[in-house]
């Protein structure tokens, strides 16, 4: 009997592993082709030149760096200071130095496993385009990408340790506010200093001779950033300047090693005392909470039926009283605000309709990616966050449908509204007339976007809610399928194996979306350039190609999500 049970379990585990392998493998292949295609498209079709291409890579890496940095900071707060495992280890003969190192490395590798896979696939796609030799890949991974990511993680833990140290003297909420402002300012400053629009305009003056090295255009402060070192490493590898390549590898490895040593020294000095501080922070939050004044008070009557009302109120309080939820939300929202304030005033003077379409698509897909990130971070863990208290829903007269849809609509209404705002703001340059500098100094003229471009902008605002609904459904529905009621930390839930699989599937959807959107976007900018009439069939067909599969996906993931709620608890 034992053998039979074991065999069944082994078959089940093997099936799951095979399934994971297929999804991860497919994604790796997809990331390879995508990176290969984007590289080829920008360099061969749009002809932006090697220098500009690598500056875009550098900007993408900056966002990547900040994301890893913030992600590690929030995860480290939970695992170093709010983890029962650390409490348990500290009550045993394990030194707090070892606990710090183990939890720090655990955080890094836990949250970065998929990123290694994605990074490698993207590098492979990039390398194949340039026919780079085999030794590029191990060097780029071990000497550049891993140190780059590790550097972000070390910085995150250093900031966290310092914040926790200061928390004994300064109000914790004030510190969090300061951190948020600091990061938002940092992102704002980066894009202000690096000024991508100015750079594009300057480089394009030399068109078609854009393959020159325009290093003099790089602002000095940007050269101190690790994302710049990585993009320079790639640029010089492609242009076969191996002395510069070696220099940047050395710089990255040395900086990472130095920062790691500093992290260990700081951890050794501060971890235990800051852990004690975290206890006092926790005890400070023990207070009586009054229900009388709040709009969301359980005592207040609402126009919802009782079950809906208590579910909504419970969701609200669980969110606003959980620091790892609202802190992450505030940070993401602030970064979003910076991004939107930049793109809503975007004014790139480009001639080529293809290049205009690429810029438009980059902004469009980045919007969708942001929405997907928010849906993954906050939508995926929604069912799991019921935690061990899920018995309250299973044993009371509330149907699984009601509970499932109520939670879903909370997330969806918020995300769909947000997506419309994002879409509208990012389309402002394509929707409204604006004054531009004239030929003579002091002269201003009003430039009205062409009707085709305006139509494309309205079309994007129209399809964005459909796309958001699909992404929210995928994250929420698959979050139900992969529900883990034992995990309390929403960030760990959103970076679990199930979440990673979901993320990969949503990325496949995004890539397909991009492929579908490429033709109508280019067609509209060609209409603008040539002054030709809009072919409405293009937009109608695009709408159908996006909507019909999206509705099928929505139906499938919700069926799976609801079915999974029937499981024994």
């Amino acid at each position: 009997m034992f053998w039979k049970v074991s065999l069944k379990q082994d078959v089940g585990t093997a099936m799951k592993n095979v399934g994971s392998f297929i999804v991860f493998g497919s994604f790796a292949v997809g990331a390879f082709y995508f990176s290969n295609f984007v590289t080829a498209y920008l360099l061969d079709n749009v002809k932006i030149g090697l220098f500009l291409f690598h500056r875009f890579v550098g900007m993408f890496l900056f966002i990547f760096f900040v994301t890893i940095n913030l992600g590690n900071m929030v995860v480290s707060f939970s695992t170093l200071y709010r983890s029962p495992e650390v409490d348990f280890l500290l009550s045993n003969p394990v030194s707090y130095r070892n606990i710090f190192v183990i939890k720090f490395l655990d955080n890094f590798f836990y949250s970065s496993g998929t990123l290694f896979l994605v990074g490698f696939s993207v590098l492979l796609g990039y390398g194949v385009h340039f026919s780079l030799p085999w030794h590029f890949y191990p060097l780029a991974m071990a000497g550049v990408m891993i140190p780059f990511m590790f550097l972000a993680a070390c910085m995150a833990v250093i900031v966290l340790l310092l914040v926790m140290k200061l928390a004994s003297k300064i109000n914790f909420k004030v510190l969090i506010g300061a951190i948020v402002i600091f990061y938002v300012f940092q992102v704002y400053l980066y894009f202000r200093v690096s000024n991508p629009i100015h750079m594009v305009e300057e480089v394009m003056k030399y068109y078609p001779h854009v393959d020159l090295y325009f290093g003099s255009l790089d602002p000095g402060s940007v050269k101190l950033l690790p994302n710049f070192w990585v993009s320079e490493f790639l640029y010089f590898y492609v242009t076969k300047n191996f002395v510069a390549v070696g220099g940047y590898v050395f710089l990255l490895v040395l900086s990472t090693a130095a920062l790691f040593v500093f992290t260990l020294v700081l951890g050794n000095a501060l971890f235990y005392s800051t852990w004690i501080t975290s206890l006092s922070l926790k005890s400070m939050s023990v207070k009586k909470l009054t229900m009388k004044s709040s709009f969301f008070s359980f005592r207040k009557k609402s126009f919802f039926v009782p079950q809906t009302e208590v579910l909504l109120k419970k969701e609200f309080w669980q969110f606003v009283r959980e620091p790892s939820q609202w802190i992450h939300f505030v940070v993401m929202f602030a970064l979003l605000a910076v991004f939107l304030s930049s793109v809503s005033t975007l004014n790139i003077k480009l001639q080529s309709p293809e290049l205009k379409a690429v810029v438009y698509l980059v902004v469009f897909i980045f919007n969708i990616f942001l929405i997907n990130s928010i849906a993954l971070r906050f939508g995926f863990p929604l069912i799991s966050l019921e935690g061990n208290a899920y018995w309250t829903l299973k044993s009371t007269p509330i149907s699984a449908h009601k509970f499932y849809w109520t939670k879903f609509f909370v997330a969806t209404i918020f995300l769909v509204c947000l997506s419309i705002v994002i879409s509208w703001l990012s389309n402002i340059p394509y929707l409204y007339a604006r004054s531009v500098e004239g030929i003579f100094p002091g002269m201003k003229s009003v430039e009205t976007p062409h009707v085709a471009v305006r139509t494309l902008a309205y079309f994007s605002i129209l399809v964005t809610p459909v796309i958001t609904l699909t992404l929210t459904s995928m994250n929420y529905g698959l979050g139900s399928v992969y529900a883990n009621f034992a995990e309390k930390n929403p960030i760990r839930i959103a970076s679990s194996q199930g979440a990673t699989m979901t993320f990969l599937l949503t990325l496949v959807y995004l890539v397909l979306l991009l492929a579908v959107y490429l033709y109508p976007a280019t067609a509209m900018f060609v209409n603008e350039a040539r002054g030709t009439a809009i072919d409405w069939r293009v937009l109608q067909i695009t709408f159908l190609i996006i909507t019909i599969p999206s509705l099928i996906i929505i139906g499938c993931v919700h069926l799976l999500g609801l079915r999974s709620l029937r499981r024994d608890f």
Binding site: T290, V310, Q318
Partner: protein
């Protein structure tokens, strides 16, 4: 009224509950005893809708738990063995939340919440977040949330875990009073003295099967054959067969 008819639960080839049939009339205090892993919690989880039975039927107040879950669940209150709650809610909010899930109207709910808080003496700490509660405090709030909608049946899995003597007394007295008022109580416990003190009828489950089912009066007759206490009867009935 609670009825279990040929209730069976299998996990793969392992049978956790095997053909269990019981009937608990209104107002009866029923004790469900058994060693660890005998199938007590699995039975209760099937009764409360947390597990789906592999076979058999559970009828609570005339409603089938599997086929009429909403109607059946409206009639009982459940106290699990581990009183997990939403950490970020206060005890009072949790009781309101549970009342809302039972579709109670706000005015009636407010009145009932105050009553259960008074009854279980929770007032001094009920407005703190449940993450700061001890095991006993959680257990008492879970009792309050199970009583808040005035159920006709109460299903309890290990009620005394973490309760101090005063809280245990309050809980016992409340349960006794509810039973006298006509509420059926199905209680699983390891504490034999409590089963003897409170229950009208006792069943012992071992290795997924009911091996003893009788009234307290008849149990006293059985006890005479041993050394006069329930513990000896329990140990004898549930002992592992000797094998070489």
């Amino acid at each position: 009224m609670i009825e279990l008819k040929h209730l069976t639960k299998k996990f793969g080839s392992f049978t956790a509950v095997d053909d269990v049939s019981l009937s608990i009339p209104a107002g009866e205090f029923f004790g469900f005893l058994g060693p660890n892993g005998a199938g007590k919690t699995t039975t209760i989880k099937m009764m409360t809708g947390l597990f789906t039975p592999t076979d058999g039927q559970i009828i609570i107040n005339g409603f089938d738990v599997v086929h009429q879950p909403m109607e059946a669940k409206s009639t009982f209150g459940y106290i699990p063995d581990h009183p997990y709650m939403y950490d970020k809610l206060t005890g009072r909010e949790f009781i309101y939340y549970m009342g809302g899930l039972y579709r109670m109207e706000k005015e009636k709910l407010k009145e009932s919440v105050e009553q259960v808080i008074d009854l279980l003496e929770l007032a001094s700490w009920i407005d703190k977040k449940t993450e700061d509660y001890s095991q006993g405090m959680r257990q008492r709030v879970t009792f309050a949330s199970a009583f808040v909608h005035n159920p006709k049946n109460i299903i309890i899995d290990e009620p005394m875990v973490g309760l101090d003597p005063r809280s245990a007394r309050i809980v016992k007295d409340t349960l006794k009073r509810r039973s006298k008022e006509g509420v059926s109580i199905f209680m699983s416990t390891h504490i034999l003295e409590m089963a003897e003190e409170l229950c009208d009828r006792i069943a012992i489950i071992n290795k997924a099967k009911i091996i003893f089912l009788d009234t307290k009066e008849n149990l006293n007759v059985h006890k005479v054959h041993y050394d006069g206490n329930l513990e000896s009867v329990f140990l004898e009935l549930t002992k592992e067969p000797y094998s070489e």
